[in-house]
Symmetry: C2
Subunit: 342 residues, 2 copies
């Protein structure tokens, strides 16, 4: 982060025609982006949304009310513009990039305009049931990280903001297992209802995560993602790491993406500095992950959909922060008397 | 509100390709708008922003860190596109309508494109110091209400959403006095720092509001606005009343607009049904006003600028709610297996 740019942005904020501090979080966002982008006039656009999709063998334990087939069907829905994140991307003028890193069935048709699709070779590698075995081999884990990085490499240099999302029936179970390992918390503290599992399913989910935690106790962040996560979660880690390397800001979505970001911060301390947090998910475990990251998200709307939908919902706030910072007149420009000058 | 439209909207939400309830507040907003607009596919656009500006004689008591001259200077800033709300309106493609209902000096130049300006005749009537006398005569109060209504009458029929805002040095003092009267609360419970008054100024503000409350104890909502408010606050009441008559939804800004909306609800019970609440202001008294209205705002970003800036910041969330509701595919359309069908 560039302290000089931050100072200049802060100084500019103090001269804009408003009482100091009266734009609250929107001022903080502008100053933070200035520091990260190394300019007193930061930008939120161009922005891009990247979605990583994978299936999870752990669904065999009945941890989700939806069948695994929904992952592939939702990928098709993304590509045809019918999913929440497709709608938001269209509404906001954001290109949507969908990457299959492990979906059981491939889409039948090419994507609509403004949407890209790529099936990464890592999708053909086997995935394990995290309850009893590693979710990935170490090689597959490395390849999933690389799949995420590769998608970020395809983005134009001028992309300022990256929104990451995921689709994968069973992946709140995987994320909860990773969170439990990273935070040293019990399964029941990080397991939530995900897409809306009933009480019996919730109990199974707690058991499954508990078994994974016992199997993997003491695992570091890489091992946690490899053995208890999934290819989607690994790809999120790899994508964020590369985005940050390329000095792009990551606008962090909800529970699953936040778990991936916590893993990244543990692998590469300081990564968190490059993240803006979009929203507080209704998924129970998110709170603990946000606390561990010292994050105060912008929105708290009871969202729990995933797909990057929370990040996309928050993007207009970042747009507003940048537009206000760059577009408002200063007291001097507008000839407005400042306080105490009357 | 149209219960059938609300039911059909709720039913549509249950068929969209997402877990039920996973879009949280965005689902509630879509269903509420459906009820108000009487259609299962509600819209947030066209939207319009109306700003009412007036000076306040109460500034003579040193209740604001800014001189009264700032009101006129900020009106010029709105018209030339340099104020926060001008920037947000431009960013969001929303026409901005500025109405002078009592500013001491008139703008020198016509407004920029996309911005309208009108000086209502009520601006020439005298305003009183609410500490010791009525802020308006009853006739002036009626004319200020009418000024607000008239501006709404100028809006095209198809405008779905109205955002109201205000500009007036001293008007958090007036709003606090009205709030104290409406809520039966002490001055110190509803007085805040406004644009950032210091401790001595805050103490003066509490005294001024306390004096007004003693002078007006037991006043009803109309008398409270007339005698302790200001022409800007009265115009907000009149504008919202007419907007609701014309079946337009009001997206409510922060403290001052909320006080006007509470007065309206007291004058015309049920008006509140037509309001969406944009944000929780950092201004201390807002909390009590929101509670009295039973409102849970969408945003909590520490904003305290006024000018309708909070409503404009929240507009993209209403846009998102409508876009998702109308644009997402249903399970059937997308061929996605619903829960329990696997």
């Amino acid at each position: 982060p560039d302290q000089t740019a931050a100072d200049r942005a802060r100084e500019r904020q103090s001269r804009l025609t408003k009482p100091p501090g009266s734009l609250g979080v929107l001022e903080e966002v502008a100053v933070k982006l200035a520091a990260l982008q190394g300019t007193p006039l930061p930008r939120s656009r161009p922005a891009a949304a990247l979605l990583f999709a994978a299936d999870h063998a752990v669904t065999r334990h009945g941890v989700s009310p939806y069948p695994s087939a929904v992952t592939a069907a939702m990928v098709e829905n993304f590509l045809r513009g019918g999913a929440a994140s497709s709608v938001l991307c269209r509404q906001l003028g954001v290109p949507l990039h969908v990457v299959d890193v492990g979906v059981l069935r491939q889409p039948a048709r090419p994507p609509d305009e403004g949407i890209s699709f790529r099936r990464d070779p890592v999708a053909d590698e086997p995935g394990g049931d995290l309850r009893v075995e590693d979710a990935m081999s170490e090689t597959t884990f490395r390849r999933a990280l690389a799949a995420g990085a590769e998608e970020v490499d395809k983005l134009p240099d001028d992309v300022r903001l990256v929104m990451l999302g995921e689709m994968g029936i069973g992946n709140t179970t995987a994320a909860a297992a990773v969170a439990a390992l990273l935070l040293g918390r019990k399964a029941e503290e990080v397991v939530g209802r995900g897409t809306g599992v009933d009480n019996a399913g919730l109990a199974r989910k707690v058991e499954v995560v508990g078994d994974a935690v016992r199997r993997l106790e003491g695992a570091g962040p890489e091992r946690a993602v490899q053995s208890a996560g999934g290819r989607d979660i690994a790809a999120l880690v790899g994508a964020a790491a590369r985005a940050i390397e390329r000095r792009k800001v990551v606008l962090v979505d909800g529970f699953i993406v936040s778990v991936a970001m916590l893993a990244l911060e543990r692998m590469a301390p300081g990564a968190r500095e490059w993240m803006l947090f979009a929203h507080r998910s209704a998924e129970a475990g998110h709170q603990h992950v946000l606390e561990a990251l010292g994050a105060r998200p912008m929105l708290d709307l009871g969202l729990r959909l995933g797909e990057g939908s929370g990040a996309l919902t928050a993007l207009p706030l970042v747009d507003a922060a940048c537009a206000l910072h760059a577009g408002m007149a200063t007291f001097e420009e507008a000839g407005v008397p400042d306080r105490g000058q009357g």
